[in-house]
């Protein structure tokens, strides 16, 4: 069962092409990380996959149907996005904020059901922020904010989860906890997960599949061990790296070195 099938997808902001001729097939139940240097088009590709941006050329089929043909509420019940930087403007409590993610399930009713409450509570527990439920979102630290945004995406009850740099402002312990939570969600519930990250080590450790993007194209696609090679990384990032293997002898880890001239 295919989750996404994208063919010839292009997108430009004004006349600045950001995503160029991308072909991509993702099976339902996969977990993949999209990596690449700044400006490679990662976040734009994510927004195209979520349907927020419409491709200017090519097409994206999600779950057997062109993204353009999806009814927005039906799509929102199926696919949730955790954006890179959620800015809060009003003092919702964390609990309210996560419950608001149940919007696509409410139908015509202005009220939340017990199922909505259960989903919100489960998501808060899963991301370790249940203790913050009564706090105002305006008072959260960067790391708490990020986990609350993820909790909201999980509460939406999706079969597919898109995340833009979910670990960007998390400390080591929370990075591992969050990636672990995503992996469990992926393995136990079969949720398809696609995330954008700059952290190659986290990507290599947790994502079975990596997409390496460069100048709007996917230049490599496969297992982390195959993709994270000194030559390809030097070409894409213009940086020299040392690549080691963890104890399992397969999973690579990456150490950036100083520029060798």
């Amino acid at each position: 069962m295919k989750c996404w099938e994208a063919a010839g997808v292009c997108f430009a902001y004004r006349d600045q092409p950001v995503v160029r001729d991308v072909d991509l097939a993702v099976e339902a139940g996969e977990m993949l990380a999209i990596v690449g240097p700044n400006g490679a088009g990662k976040s734009t590709l994510l927004k195209l996959l979520s349907g927020y941006l419409k491709p200017q050329a090519g097409r994206i089929v999600y779950d057997g149907k062109d993204l353009r043909d999806w009814e927005p509420l039906a799509l929102a019940r199926d696919l949730a996005t955790a954006p890179q930087s959620a800015v809060f403007y009003f003092p919702f409590t964390v609990g309210q904020y996560v419950l608001l993610a149940r919007h696509p399930h409410r139908g015509w009713s202005p009220f939340e059901s017990e199922a909505d409450v259960a989903a919100a509570n489960a998501a808060l527990a899963q991301t370790g922020v249940a203790a913050l439920a009564a706090r105002s979102v305006l008072e959260l630290s960067g790391g708490e904010k990020q986990r609350v945004v993820l909790a909201a995406a999980l509460a939406q009850g999706p079969r597919t989860l898109l995340l833009d740099e979910p670990t960007a402002s998390l400390d080591l312990r929370h990075q591992v906890a969050l990636m672990g939570a995503l992996r469990r969600q992926n393995e136990q519930c079969g949720t398809t997960v696609a995330l954008v990250t700059h952290d190659l080590n986290l990507a290599a450790r947790w994502a079975p599949r990596l997409l390496l993007m460069h100048e709007g194209r996917i230049v490599a696609d496969g297992r982390p061990a195959d993709i994270l090679q000194p030559d390809s990384l030097r070409e894409v990032y213009c940086a020299t790296v040392e690549i080691g293997r963890r104890a399992d002898g397969v999973t690579p880890y990456i150490l950036p070195l100083e520029e060798s001239r």
Binding site: F111, N121, A130
Partner: protein, 352 residues
């Protein structure tokens, strides 16, 4: 249970105090003024308005005025809350987008040109103010329109610019006017709840009754649309990207909200003048009390705004009676300190 859901019972409990406040204001409003009216005596003589002073003051002067105050206050408070969500800016208010300065320009122009003819019972000043409000709103909307979502930055900038433009043109009209005209214009701009439409309309021709009904219908439709959009305002207040990811048709929802809020603001401005402060402080005060969930905030703001303006108008009529203070002056005089108190409380609670 760690999260509190909005259930019918929670909603009712949160709205009840606001309903009581509005009810109290509705009962108190018609009784006070330069002459104190006994509502019970007025009710007893309701079929004999000509023969009883209480009844005639109560039904022909006070009650229409209280209802206009309620409608105006409800519209401004609700539109204020809606604009704050749409623009994701807690400092937005109904007049941020230039509706009031457009209306004031229309009114000033009508006064300067000495337009006399009434149309179906509506005064030319009111109609010109309505046209000015509509023109300003349409201009700002057109300027901020993009292919995707409406940009809140563009809307705010365009609104502020249009406001300054109309303000300059109003000054120009002032400059060209004599003292009587200028006084009339300034008086209009202070805001007042003198019932501007001719009450004879109620007993007048079918056309004028139809016009009045149409106006009330537009008012009711705009207010109802805003309350019904509450769930979408919640999502829009989190930003267009999140709203879209939750299945909200962002552009459509923004357009509906902007249109309804501009409509009720334009009606309020054309009927009562640009009464300031209600649209900024009532939503904030209500947010401090019940939180930012628009499903509670919007109906609560509607009732609080209506009650607040009824009481302000009652005070304006009776404080220095028989002289009447412009109600717009009073809303800021009463609302300002009250708002600062709430602000201090919110600061202490770390709620802001």
């Amino acid at each position: 249970m760690t999260v509190q859901a909005l259930t019918p019972r929670v909603l009712a409990a949160k709205l009840a105090p606001f309903a009581l406040f509005l009810l109290a204001a509705l009962l108190l409003g018609p009784a006070v003024g330069a002459v104190t009216v006994d509502p019970l005596a007025a009710w007893a003589h309701r079929h004999d308005l000509a023969g009883n002073l209480d009844a005639s003051v109560f039904f022909t002067i006070r009650l229409p005025r209280v209802l206009l105050a309620a409608l105006t206050g409800a519209a401004l408070a609700l539109a204020g809350a809606a604009f704050q969500a749409l623009l994701r800016n807690p400092l937005a208010e109904p007049f941020t987008l230039g509706v009031s300065s457009g209306g004031a320009f229309g009114a000033a122009l009508a006064i300067k040109l000495g337009l006399g003819a009434t149309l179906l019972g509506f005064s030319p000043v009111m109609l010109a103010a309505l046209a000015g409000s509509a023109a300003a709103a349409a201009l700002v909307y057109w300027l901020a329109r993009t292919r995707g979502a409406l940009s809140s930055t563009l809307l705010t900038l365009a609104g502020v610019t249009i406001s300054f433009f109309f303000a300059a043109e109003i000054l120009l009209i002032f400059y060209l006017s004599d003292y009587t005209e200028t006084h009339q214009m300034i008086r209009w701009m202070m805001g007042s709840l003198d019932v501007v439409f001719n009450l004879a309309m109620l007993r007048g021709s079918l056309a004028s009754r139809a016009a009045l009904s149409l106006m009330l219908l537009a008012y009711a439709g705009g207010l109802a649309a805003l309350v019904l959009l509450a769930g979408k305002f919640n999502q829009l207040s989190l930003g267009p990207e999140i709203a879209a990811s939750r299945g909200v048709h962002v552009r459509r929802a923004q357009r509906a909200g902007y249109l309804a809020a501009s409509l009720v603001t334009g009606l309020a401005v054309s009927l009562a003048g640009p009464i300031g402060f209600v649209g900024l402080i009532v939503p904030h005060a209500v947010r401090f009390l019940v939180g930012p969930d628009h499903r509670v905030l919007l109906p609560a703001s509607l009732m609080a705004g209506a009650g607040f303006l009824i009481l302000c108008d009652a005070a304006a009529r009776s404080l220095f009676g028989p002289v009447e203070i412009p109600v717009g002056v009073l809303t800021a005089t009463i609302g300002g300190p009250f708002f600062l108190l709430l602000l201090l409380r919110a600061k202490r609670q770390g709620n802001i």
